[in-house]
Point group: C2
Chain length 407, copies 2
């Protein structure tokens, strides 16, 4: 008997009919002889609506309270799913993050799972239950509810799969899997049959919304195969795993893009040791992820320091940076939130030159100006104007002949 | 420094504006130098909406799952209230029933509080917080969420007040206090300034919706003074306590009515020992409260057994009773759900005859047929046709001259 962990996202459980549809899929998995643990997200726009409600009470709700509020969304779905399964004559029980033993640190709003104590889940499985776990949430040692941040239900699912030594972790969503680019931008984009953890991690981090990067990372650490597929049909989806066949590796695998990019430049920074940490430590303490950092060559002992953050963090970042810039003698801060990142990802580029050149040429042909460039071993990212993003993705998809990919 | 427990019902927290209004009242109490613990209900129609949603998934949702689902309603209000208080620059923290230490038995849907472990509340109060507790819910020894049944937030409030040795427990609602009869039926009904626990218990049990009877009972056991008042103004409300002045005791204090009455009659029951327990034990096991029980005088060793239940329990009661009736040789079961109870309540009637006669005469003058009569030491109840309830309450209010009551 295999143990399967399935996760269903918000659009897959948006209303009573969709919950029943998912319940039928769960029953089918169970009836194949599997033990099933299911992680659910909040229904449709529930989380957004709760945030809206919170802001009516307080424009800046405290993270601790917001976590308790938002955690109710997933709890509601979990009980409704259990009820739907009972209606289909199957034993099922819903568990909150706390009951499922998901222990986290105290970073409200973006908590990290520290440990999973799956005793209760194991007991419920032994009693023949399908176990429905409210995703996205956990509990601190002080018994305060936390949430794992947006997309955290993916993380819940992979972490549970690893902890329970499941055979696979299946992430069901409203898309058919991982594509060579966003099909809404590039209609000829192809679904990938499989992809390696590292490549998926880069795609997810650099804008592919299919899966949360933390969940991919966890999958890689625990070597947990993750299937991403659509909850509305039986198409095969994309398998994320470690053993991607050799010949598929020597290629650009996909184009990611991200419109959630803001840039901050601190101008006229004195070029001396300790300046970078003076600027970036307060951001780290405020839990603001800084992505790309570029420091220009110093002229007359002054340099410009540029970095990017998510648009939602821009205001807070500027609040923190402006007084620091002043205190270290920088001339001023400027920011721009009309930017996009486009990235090409593939393990192939690790040992083969020419990818960067092809990328830059493709963008140049579209007269797209590149503002910043960053790279990893398997990724090249260009930061460009937001309104060029669509043209850039289309051009890159074509330049790397991804529409010819055999899946 | 006094400790005050306040409870705000669903209509008092129905939207963001009303929550802010309540937050202002809480702040006023705190600024008078009190420590404040607040128990909140779910917003407006939330509980009804969640039940509706559950029934879309499963016409008979399992009690355990329904409890988890419904408990989210109060949790949402508690966090929003804490956020509103933060917005008014006051320290506040929301606690779930579990966090507040409200331990219950495992009777899902109508759990009883077994113990309160207020350690966390005390800690939060010591840190200067206003503590907002999600009402209506608790946790079993197995860490499953329970609910206390409709109106259970009143019970949460009084139990917490007793456990914390609060000075008073204040129940805020959308009515001005306890009236001599429902003011919607009897416009000349008067608000009572004070009332004894026993009288309030009878009024609440027999239909006054102002407070949950269990909460009144708890108040009596722990001699906790309970103020019932309106959350939308500063009118004085009604104080429920033990020391009601002597001269106010010799009177009928109020008329209660209840439309939620169904009657079951088992016809032709063999009159032998053990029959009543054969019929009522299964109902008790199914957690169905049986109210009035009447057994006719036996004719030819056969009797008719009549009892009343809440309308919501009728279907389940009949399912249980019909096979039993058959097995004990009764001829058949009949039921009627178009009934009402009207009751007069007052400690005065304990030692003074004539109250029953006045009541029956008043009903007779309205040509209202009395189907069943039950009494306690301080109450007389008549079961009549539902469509006569309004006339009956008006006639009784007049017959006992309650409109002349000085408050």
């Amino acid at each position: 008997m295999a143990l399967v962990v399935q996760k269903y996202g918000g659009s897959s459980v948006a209303d009573a009919e969709k919950i029943k549809n998912v319940a039928r899929r769960i029953v089918a998995t169970k009836e194949k002889g599997n033990e099933v643990v299911v992680v659910v997200s909040a229904m449709g726009k529930t989380t957004d609506n709760l945030i809206q409600l919170a802001k009516e009470l307080n424009p800046r709700p405290e993270d601790r309270e917001l976590d308790v509020l938002l955690s109710t969304g997933e709890i509601v779905t979990s009980t409704l799913m259990a009820m739907a399964l009972h209606g289909m004559d199957h034993q099922a029980v819903s568990l909150t993050g706390q009951q499922a033993g998901i222990q986290t640190d105290s970073s409200h709003g973006r908590a990290r799972i520290t440990r999973i104590e799956p005793k209760r889940i194991v007991k419920e499985l032994e009693q023949g239950n399908i176990v429905i776990v409210a995703g996205f949430q956990g509990i601190t040692p002080d018994l305060n509810t936390t949430t794992l941040g947006r997309g955290g239900s993916d993380t819940t699912a992979v972490a549970l799969a690893a902890s329970l030594k499941a055979q696979t972790c299946e992430i069901y969503t409203d898309v058919e899997g991982v594509f060579t680019a966003d099909p809404r931008l590039v209609p000829e984009a192809k679904r990938l049959k499989e992809i390696g953890y590292e490549e998926m991690l880069e795609l997810a981090t650099y804008g592919s919304k299919v899966m949360h990067p933390r969940a991919v990372e966890l999958g890689e650490v625990y070597r947990m195969p993750i299937l991403v597929a659509c909850s509305f049909n039986d198409n095969p989806g994309t398998l994320i795993h470690g053993g991607v066949s050799m010949e598929q590796r020597n290629k650009v695998r996909g184009i990611a893009h991200d419109l959630n990019v803001a840039k901050v430049t601190v101008l006229g920074v004195p070029d001396r040791p300790g300046i970078a940490s003076a600027i970036f430590e307060p951001l780290a303490k405020a839990n603001i992820s800084v992505d790309t950092i570029v420091q220009n060559a110093s002229v007359k002992n002054l340099t410009d320091l540029t970095f990017t953050v998510a648009i939602g963090d821009l205001e807070k970042a500027l609040e923190l940076i402006e007084p620091i810039a002043k205190s270290i003698g920088a001339s001023k801060c400027v920011s721009d939130s009309t930017l996009a990142k486009v990235s090409i990802v593939g393990t192939g580029m690790l040992n083969a030159p020419g990818y960067a050149a092809t990328m830059f040429r493709a963008l140049a042909e579209q007269k797209i100006n590149i503002q910043l460039i960053t790279t990893s071993e398997i990724r090249i990212t260009c930061i460009i104007a937001e309104d060029s993003a669509k043209d850039a993705v289309k051009a890159l998809h074509k330049a790397f002949e991804l529409e010819r990919l055999e899946i």
